[in-house]
C-alpha cells in the first residue's frame, strides 16, 4: 500500500501544527464558534451529543498493522476503549476531548493517518471497492487512481470551500461494491471499443435527503484527463451550486435543477476551455504511486478443499464470510463486526490489536475496512482458514452472517449523534434478538438491511433492500420503512416507502412481517430484492399494516 514520502509526511505534520494553533486560538477566545467549526470539521472533529466525535480518514479503506495498533492506542488512551467503522471506510471515535485532539492527530501522523477532510464542505475521503486488487471480476485496480485523486484533493486551494461535502468513489469492477452510483462523482474503470482503459464518469448521485442515482456525463474519459475533468466538474459545482440552503447544496440538486444534459454541457465546456491550464497528467508520478499497489508476493498454491471433515459452523463461515481470490490457493475473509452483542461497526482497542496481529500472521500485513462496516483480510491462504477462524471466534469476529439480514448497516444514531432523530443501535439489538437463528438467515439468502437515525442517511437506508429511517414525531422515535433499494452494479435503485412510520418497539416485528411476505412469494432461491421487484410494494404493505391477528 501507499507509503508517505517526505512531501506527504510534511503536509500531514504541518496540518497538525496548523490545527493545534487553531484550537489554541479558539480556546483563547480569538476564534469564534462559527469560524472554528468550519476549521475543526476539516480535521474531522464534530461536536456531538455527549462529546466531540473525531473521524479518522482511512483512504480507500486500506490499513497497515501499525496503523491499526495506533487506532487501538487512541481508543484506549483518548476514548472509552473502542472505535466505530463508518460506511465510508473511516474510523470514528465518540469520546475524545476537544483540547486533546491535536495530540491525537499528532500521534496518528506518526503512522501516516490523519483526519483531513473527513468532514466539512470539501472533497472527502476517496473510497474504493474493498476487494480491489483481489476481485476476480476486476478490470483494473482502482486504488492507484484513488491515491492519485486523494493527493490532488488534499488541501486543494480552489475546492476547499465548496457549497457542500463532495464524495468520490472509484471502482474497477462491474459489481460496484463501492456504491459509486450514489456518490457525488462515481468513476468506473472500463474499456472502450479500441480496448483502452479509461473512466465512465457519473455525477450527481447521493444519499441523505433527496437520494438520487448518479447520471453518466462521460461514457469514456481517457485516464490522462482524469484530474482535468474532475477540476471541470468541481469548478462548475463550486460556482453554480446553491449556497443559500444547506439542504439544496449538494451537486445532485444542481444536476437535478439544470438536468444531466446541461450538466454534461457545462462540464465539457469548462473542460475544453481549461485544457491549457488544467493539471497535466504526470505519468511518472502516477507510476510512482502505482508501484505501491503492485500485486503482493503470493506463494504458488492450488485451490484446495477447505471444508471437508470440518464442523458445520466453520463451513457456514467459509461460505458466508470468505470470497474468491484471483490468486489460486487464497481467499478474502470478512471479519464480521455484526455479532448479536455488538453495535454494528464497533470494535474495541483489544480487538484492534488482535486484528493487527492476525493480519500480520494471516493476511500479508494488510487490513481493510469495508462499506458494510466490517473488516476484510484480503490475502488469506486457504490452508490457514481454519486456524484463522478459530482465532477470530475468540474475539467475536467470526459471526458467519456476511450478506445476511443481520449484517446490517447502522449509523451511530441518537445514542451519539446530535443530528439524529432517533436511535438506531437499539434497533440492531431488537433485530438480532428476533432473528437469532443463523440457519433461518441462511435460508433467507442475501438481504441488505440499512438503518439511519435521520435523513442525512449515514446508514444508507435509501439503498437498503430494506431501509429503516428514524423520524421524529412530536418528540417520539418513529421509523419509516423503505423496500427495494440497491447499490449494486447497473441495477442501483432507491427504496420505496411502504407506508406510515412504525413505532420504535415495532421495528423488528415489521421486518419479520416483511420477511414473511417475501418467503410466501419467493420463487426458488430468489433474492429478496428480486422478489420485491417482481411483486411490488402492495403485498408487503397489506401485511405490514394488518391488525396483529391477521398478519400471520
Amino acid at each position: 500500500m501507499y507509503q508517505y514520502d517526505q512531501i506527504d509526511q510534511s503536509l500531514v505534520d504541518q496540518r497538525v501544527a496548523q490545527y493545534r494553533d487553531q484550537t489554541q486560538r479558539y480556546l483563547a477566545g480569538q476564534l469564534s464558534e462559527d469560524d472554528f467549526r468550519s476549521l475543526r470539521l476539516r480535521n474531522g472533529l464534530y461536536i456531538q451529543k455527549h462529546a466531540p466525535m473525531l473521524r479518522i480518514s482511512i483512504p480507500y479503506g486500506l490499513l497497515r498493522p501499525a496503523q491499526v495498533r495506533m487506532l487501538a492506542r487512541v481508543a484506549r488512551e483518548y476514548d472509552k476503549g473502542y472505535g466505530h467503522f463508518s460506511t465510508r471506510q473511516n474510523m470514528q471515535f465518540n469520546w475524545p476531548k476537544l483540547e486533546l485532539v491535536p495530540d491525537i492527530l499528532a500521534l496518528l501522523a506518526t503512522v501516516q493517518l490523519h483526519g483531513i477532510q473527513t468532514s466539512g464542505n470539501c472533497i472527502r475521503n476517496v473510497t474504493a471497492d474493498h476487494l480491489a486488487g483481489v476481485a476476480v471480476d476486476e478490470l483494473e485496480d482502482p486504488r492507484p487512481w484513488c491515491e492519485y485523486i486523494r493527493q490532488w484533493a488534499t488541501l486543494h486551494p480552489e475546492f476547499s470551500y465548496l457549497p457542500r461535502k463532495f464524495k468520490i468513489a472509484v471502482t474497477g469492477s462491474p459489481a460496484d461494491r463501492a456504491a459509486s452510483r450514489v456518490h457525488d462523482v462515481g468513476l468506473h474503470l472500463r474499456k472502450n471499443e479500441q480496448g483502452e482503459v479509461g473512466f465512465e464518469v457519473l455525477v450527481g448521485g447521493g444519499l441523505g435527503r433527496a437520494p438520487m442515482i448518479g447520471h453518466v456525463i462521460r461514457e469514456f474519459l481517457p485516464k490522462k484527463d482524469l484530474l482535468a475533468y474532475l477540476e471541470a466538474i468541481l469548478r462548475v459545482y463550486n460556482l453554480e451550486g446553491r449556497r443559500d440552503n444547506i439542504h439544496k447544496a449538494r451537486i445532485k440538486i444542481l444536476v437535478k435543477a439544470i438536468g444531466p444534459a446541461k450538466m454534461r454541457e457545462l462540464v465539457e465546456e469548462e473542460f475544453a476551455a481549461a485544457k491549457d491550464t488544467a493539471p497535466v497528467f504526470d505519468a511518472a508520478e502516477f507510476e510512482r504511486i502505482k508501484a505501491f499497489f503492485a500485486p503482493k508476493v503470493y506463494e504458488s498454491l492450488q485451490d484446495q478443499d477447505v471444508i471437508s471433515g470440518k464442523p458445520q459452523e466453520f463451513r457456514n463461515w467459509f461460505q458466508y464470510n470468505t470470497r474468491k481470490h484471483k490468486v489460486a490457493g487464497y481467499r478474502a475473509v470478512f471479519l464480521s463486526l455484526k455479532s448479536p452483542t455488538r453495535p454494528p461497526g464497533d470494535i474495541t482497542a483489544d480487538e484492534l490489536d488482535r486484528v493487527a496481529d492476525l493480519a500480520e500472521q494471516y493476511s500479508l500485513g494488510e487490513i481493510r475496512s469495508t462499506h458494510d462496516q466490517n473488516v476484510l483480510f484480503a490475502h488469506v491462504k486457504q490452508s490457514d482458514l481454519f486456524a484463522l477462524w478459530q482465532q477470530l471466534k475468540l474475539i467475536d469476529l467470526a459471526t458467519a452472517n456476511i450478506g445476511t439480514l443481520t449484517d446490517m448497516i447502522c449509523c451511530p444514531g441518537g445514542d451519539f449523534c446530535a443530528l439524529a432523530n432517533a436511535r438506531s443501535i437499539p434497533l440492531a439489538t431488537q433485530i438480532n434478538e428476533r432473528f437469532d437463528s443463523l440457519d433461518y438467515l441462511y435460508d433467507l439468502g442475501e438481504i441488505q438491511l440499512k438503518m439511519s437515525g435521520c435523513m442525512n442517511g449515514c446508514g444508507h437506508h435509501s439503498v437498503g433492500h430494506i431501509g429503516v429511517l428514524g423520524v421524529d414525531k412530536d418528540g417520539e422515535e418513529w421509523y419509516q420503512i423503505t423496500l427495494g433499494g440497491s447499490t449494486g452494479g447497473h441495477d442501483a435503485s432507491l427504496g420505496k416507502v411502504i407506508g406510515p412510520s412504525v413505532a420504535h418497539d415495532d421495528v423488528a416485528e415489521t421486518i419479520e412481517r416483511i420477511i414473511h411476505v417475501f418467503v410466501e412469494h419467493r420463487q426458488e432461491e430468489e433474492r429478496f430484492l428480486d422478489t420485491f421487484r417482481r411483486i411490488g410494494v402492495a403485498p408487503f404493505k397489506a401485511k405490514v399494516y394488518a391488525p396483529a391477528d391477521q398478519a400471520a
Binding site: 512531501i7 510534511s10 503536509l11 504541518q14 496540518r15 501544527a17 496548523q18 487553531q22 462559527d34 469560524d35 468550519s38 476549521l39 464542505n121 493527493q151 490532488w152 488534499t154 488541501l155 486543494h156 486551494p157 480552489e158 475546492f159 476547499s160 470551500y161 465548496l162 457549497p163 469548478r235 463550486n238 460556482l239 449556497r243 476551455a273 481549461a274 491550464t277 493539471p279 504526470d282 508520478e285
Partner: protein
C-alpha cells in the same frame, strides 16, 4: 489609513473604493462591478488607475476585454462558507491572464490566506482590527502542496511541489 497585506508585506492601501472619501493623490479608484459595467466608457477615459470589485455571482467573463484598463480586481468574500471567490481568482489568472493586483476582501481570515494565495490572490484586505502581522505567518503554514497553483505572475506551478 487602511493597511493590507500585499505580496507578504504589510502596506498602506493606495486604493480607494468609489463610496469612500475623494480619491487621494494616488488617484486609484475601485468601482463596484455594476457601476463599471454601466459607466465603462466614461471611466475608461479617466486619468487615474481603475479597479473593479466583484461579488460571488458577478460574471467575470464580462471583464475579459477590460484588463488593459483595469489594474485591480477585488474579490468579495462573505465569510468562510463563501468559496466562489477561489474559482473566480483561478479563472482570472488562468483563463483571462489577468496580471494585475488580485485582492481578497470582505470577511476573510488568516486561515484562508494560504489557499487564496495559491489561487492567485496577491493582496489581502482583512477586516478592520485583524492582526496583520499574525496573518502574515499563514503563508508559511505549509511548505508543500499537491496541486499546481497560479502565482502572482500567472505562472502555472508544477503539481506536488516543495516551496523554495
Amino acid at each position: 489609513m487602511r493597511q493590507l497585506i500585499k505580496q507578504r508585506e504589510v502596506i498602506v492601501d493606495e486604493w480607494r473604493y468609489a463610496d469612500e472619501d475623494p480619491v487621494g493623490r494616488e488617484r486609484a479608484l475601485i468601482l463596484p462591478f455594476a457601476r463599471w459595467k454601466a459607466e465603462r466608457e466614461q471611466w475608461w477615459l479617466w486619468d487615474g488607475r481603475l479597479g473593479v470589485r466583484i461579488g460571488p455571482t458577478d460574471p467575470i467573463a464580462d471583464l475579459k476585454n477590460d484588463f488593459t484598463r483595469i489594474g485591480l480586481v477585488a474579490v468579495e468574500f462573505g465569510g468562510l462558507a463563501e468559496g466562489r471567490g477561489y474559482s473566480q481568482a483561478a479563472l482570472l489568472r488562468s483563463r483571462y491572464k489577468f496580471t494585475g493586483e488580485l485582492r481578497a476582501v470582505g470577511k476573510i481570515q488568516r486561515d484562508q490566506l494560504f489557499y487564496m494565495a495559491r489561487c492567485g490572490f496577491d493582496t489581502f484586505e482583512l477586516p478592520e482590527g485583524a492582526d496583520l502581522s499574525v496573518a502574515l505567518t499563514a503563508f508559511d503554514d505549509f511548505s508543500v502542496a499537491y496541486q499546481g497553483a497560479f502565482d502572482a505572475a500567472g505562472v502555472h506551478v508544477q503539481r506536488r511541489t516543495v516551496a523554495a
